[in-house]
Subunit: 168 residues, 6 copies
């Protein structure tokens, strides 16, 4: 039987930190589903469609990975897919308590669900999508953190946001 | 002389984690005043009146507890009530520094004030009002975290919010 | 009925940080019992008798406090005394998880037991008996951290330890 | 050659915690440049001009310090000034991971940049600009945390904000 | 191909916290090898043989788990077994940095090695072998933390240790 | 006037993490004194003389650095040298509270003393002398962590320790 793991997140945008976890996750499963949250209450810079496209481009050379969106509860998505294992990256102490809260909440919603954590490589310990957006907003070179096409998309988005601000 | 303790918070909404602290607090005092902050700068999902009503319903079988609202500084509320002891629940490391900041600020505003901390039961270590609202927004069963009438109120509020979003 | 609280510890030696907690504890109870652990598996610099004498000297002007030793489990001491409330000082994040472990263990040993935490004043946030002993061992002035007679006892102990090392 | 250090921040508003770091920084350099971020994506209560004026007033008796604004990336500001050393205050564990993220990001943007950290005095461990604004908003006395003219400016700003709220 | 995971530790003694991780680990692999460290530089209360016997007794009803000892580097044990995945339980923030240090050290010793983390159930967040030994030494009931035969072995060990102390 | 900074520690043994801090420190001062503690109460694997020799070998190509030993209080060493600034590396959250305790203690012993912190490169975040000794004891390749001659010294020390254990 194929061992499938779900890697959920908002990926706003995908970074090399996410890619590092994706590659590590593939060592411990047969198939990885990257589940992009469409959660409309969390504001994202990129639309759901943009976040998914960037992820698909990022993984296009990789086998055994696919990208899907999910709406509502993660445990319901897992049930629909017949998957029980969630993977999350764990970087710094500040991640820790939020992640534990999620593990416990998900276990209570569906006790068959298990979450496993993996550590990215040191270079990505302090990398997050928020940092990337903040740096891009300040005009910094972010090519160490995200693929080329993500950098371009972010810059386009940000210059668009700025021109809108000016106009209205 | 009666020993009175104040348990302040925004209770947006009250959870079983709060109830756990209320019960423990009653073991160390004669009377507990739950002080609901009306602080208008913090956005709450529920109105002050709703938060108070849900708290009153939650404690209606309990003796020696009452619910009051307060406006402005907590130390001024304490002075008006002639109370010197504040109680707060302490769950995770992330609570810790925020709570310490509050203790020190309150001591500086009124050095007679003392704050004591108690730990909830393990099942509520990672429970917070924010988590409950987020789960309710995603349609999850939150009956392990809040009383029935709180769950109903939250669902009503959230469906109202959604229908408003659709309309406008 | 008198409200009694137990303040347990090894007090090897008592510091101004302990004294700060003792004074705060007295604001929330009628009587405080300082319970000095005789636990022979933890190595202490001072003997149980010395630790108790220094504590007694420290609190000799204070009403409603007394010093006792205890052997074995703290919850058994509480039962013998008919007391249910433990107080502990909480200083830094590194205290936090150890203290939580103790709270949970004590609750499991006797569910009637409750532990409350109080914060010392900022000046004592990073003060501990170990620091005091380390500084005394290096010949530092520790009069900001402990009463005069504690400083003298420590110096006597430490010079005795040194002369013994030389001899044998 | 003069040793120059840059102390960056938003200073919204300057507090005695910042002043403590400024004084300590002056012990390890010949000149300190306080670099006030004009970053328009972070909402500040005070305008850039107001934040700079309050800082200038705060340091007016001090030699070897000056206040400048910066726009965009801090590393670009450092290059323009020919400075390589950044100083930041480090207070609590919660600062820690954010600051480390910044150090690593700045090193990647310009590897010549170095960041050094200093600790404020204990009394300011839990002091932040946010706390000061929150307390001022509740009408508290904040004279222990900020100079007189900062307190006045904050009160003026806040009463203005309130009267605006009422009107619209 | 069978997916095998190694769960390393000193298990001095095995607790219900370890058992919780063992059960969760079995959900994500085909076979689990519990690798008991014989590391002679860490002092253990129980001998390697005793630790292994207690583990074997604990898992005797479980399929797909076996207990082995290892000497020297964990990565060398993994190579001999042809296994690449290590599992560790992650409980509290204090575990976090130690575990990260181990992950990084193991990756540097053999980059093919991956470590995954799982969280035990809340009831075991603050449970450790050290706590169990400390409580047993004080005569506490530890039946909530370890199987019956572990409790008996510990008591036997501890009373033996005491009688030896008396004699010499 | 020359700006001198003291970098204190036990350096048991010096690692590439220390070397990283030494190089960074040299960017912010004219001269660096590495102060090796002879503190006899802390057990070290290497003798004071060995620790100093390895440090001297490590820095032999570097200008403006020298190695000295100190005995007793660090603040007294600083006074004798006429130096006021201490530098320490800050790696992980677990360092944080210990380092803060030291800063505060040193300030109380001599208020002119200032401590500054710098972060090593990510690759050395979780590197410590203890880890190096533990890995060397298990026969691991530690060439990523320490210079060649440190590795050799450690191996010699450890094999000597083993042969002694066998004999007695």
């Amino acid at each position: 039987m194929k061992r499938v793991i779900v890697y959920p997140g908002s990926f706003d945008p995908v970074t090399y930190g996410h890619l590092d976890i994706i590659k590590r996750a593939l060592k411990i499963c047969d198939q990885l589903i990257i589940a992009v949250s469409s959660n409309p209450t969390k504001k994202s810079l990129l639309s759901l469609r943009e976040r998914i496209l960037l992820l698909k481009e990022t993984i296009k050379e990789m086998k055994d990975v696919r990208v899907e969106e999910f709406d509502g509860l993660l445990v319901d998505f897992l049930k629909r897919k017949g998957v029980r294992i969630i993977i999350r990256g764990l970087r710094a102490v500040s991640d820790f308590e939020y992640e534990f809260q999620m593990v416990l909440a998900n276990r209570k919603l569906d006790e068959k669900t298990e979450t496993i954590f993996m550590m990215p490589t040191e270079a990505y310990f302090y990398l997050s999508s928020s940092l990337v957006k903040e740096l891009a907003g300040l005009g910094a070179d972010i090519s160490r953190y995200v693929p080329k096409f993500v950098e371009e998309k972010l810059k386009e988005k940000i210059s668009h946001a700025k021109s809108q601000k000016k106009t209205f």
